[in-house]
Symmetry: C2
Amino acid sequence: MTNGNARGLRHEMGRNFTYEILQRLGVDIVTGTYGVGNPFPTEAELCKRLGASRSVLREAVKMLTAKGLLKARPRQGTWIEPERNWNLLDPDVLYWLLERKFSPGLLLEFTQVRLAIEPMAAALAARHADAKAKEAITAALNRMKAAEAGDDDPLTSDIAFHVAILEASGNRFYAQLRGLIEAALRTSIRLTNRRKGVRLASVADHQQVADAIFASDPEAASAAMRHLMVEAMTLIEQAKETMEATGEEV
Amino acid sequence: MTNGNARGLRHEMGRNFTYEILQRLGVDIVTGTYGVGNPFPTEAELCKRLGASRSVLREAVKMLTAKGLLKARPRQGTWIEPERNWNLLDPDVLYWLLERKFSPGLLLEFTQVRLAIEPMAAALAARHADAKAKEAITAALNRMKAAEAGDDDPLTSDIAFHVAILEASGNRFYAQLRGLIEAALRTSIRLTNRRKGVRLASVADHQQVADAIFASDPEAASAAMRHLMVEAMTLIEQAKETMEATGEEV
DNA sequence: GGGCATGTATTTATCATATATAATGCTTGG
DNA sequence: CCAAGCATTATATATGATAAATACATGCCC
């Protein structure tokens, strides 16, 4: 073994080295380190640069290819795909984008997705939710209340609430937003935390959604959820304007 | 090289052998060949069974892992993830599911996504669409008209129309539905083609959407698009009921 | 007997290298 | 000028050796 690799140095970012390289390359790609629509360093070059073996590198590149970030062809090399081909709906990709290249614009667009989906999910939940799903909603709401008193994490419990409703909708695609919302909320809290007088929606507003679902009132559930979404969107819009006006970094 | 592999036999399914194995394993997984939540054959076993080298197999498995279908850990083996962890919003995964394990239920759930997103996309398009985006919509509509006269493919032009509007919305996540809608429509046509008196929505209904967008009327655009979606959903529901009643295979 | 330390076996993870394949451009002969 | 073939240079594939992780068994101590 002639390769003096840097394995010993690494901190446990992922389960293993391959995932570490995956994260690293993923972040580098979405932050534009290599440009977009540009050629990518060759396999050999990247191995040297990252201190990884070809197996590890190739497997990481294959995962990035599976997420639409790269495309490789013999002799032609590996290329970064244009942004429109990236799987934005892949939680990893969204996380890389939001976490590392913080963009209120993208967050806004994602909230538009939530605005489309979540009210309908709430309506479906009001129609179809079974006992177990309702319990999950109640539990999440209780966590939010506990968080208000400082006994739980506000972010995690907020996520749990929205996820519970998405899953109560019975639509498997809606439930897929789970990972995406987690990525988005973890980022958006960075935005809202910084601003005085700006905070996540109140527990009371969430309570209204839950009440409507328990009352099997789809219209009310949808409206209450829409209210939450519009609220979230307003916050992000304000933050975006502030950022643009001041050129402030988040 | 001692391995007498079966490379010569293969027909050009994908660009290369790795992608062929990817497709094969992906289909096998979603169709339940290996069960769900079950252990997966070991690397060595699968290599033998598929006549693939370890490189090829590992890279395919890594791509499936990236799409949430598998999870591998040393000594513990590779496992099929529970369905809720599959990336349904990955076009490949959706395609495998719809194509090979035809399920009107899943198609219905996907149409619910379209029902949530596309009317809003049409509304956004009515507000923001630039000249180029409008041209794309017009072009797609013209293709649909040509298709009606037999001069173009009805499926492709229908897809193009919906994609044009999603892209005109200016929301990058909405535009992501492109690949998913393509997978879904290609499957749903199998459903509707079989039934007399059942067909895709008319060009006139699509025209209404376009007209509203060109008139910068978000409400009308949204309503017209919702009409298309409800129509599609009704068709699938009918087909589903028929299938369930007759136990018919599609 | 029960709990704990320890060893062992098995599976993926990683590294390394050799060879095959494919795409591209160049060259050369007509 | 063009087309067939050759050279070049990427990725793709095959394979062997070694490392790391962990389920499981084994046996010790109390």
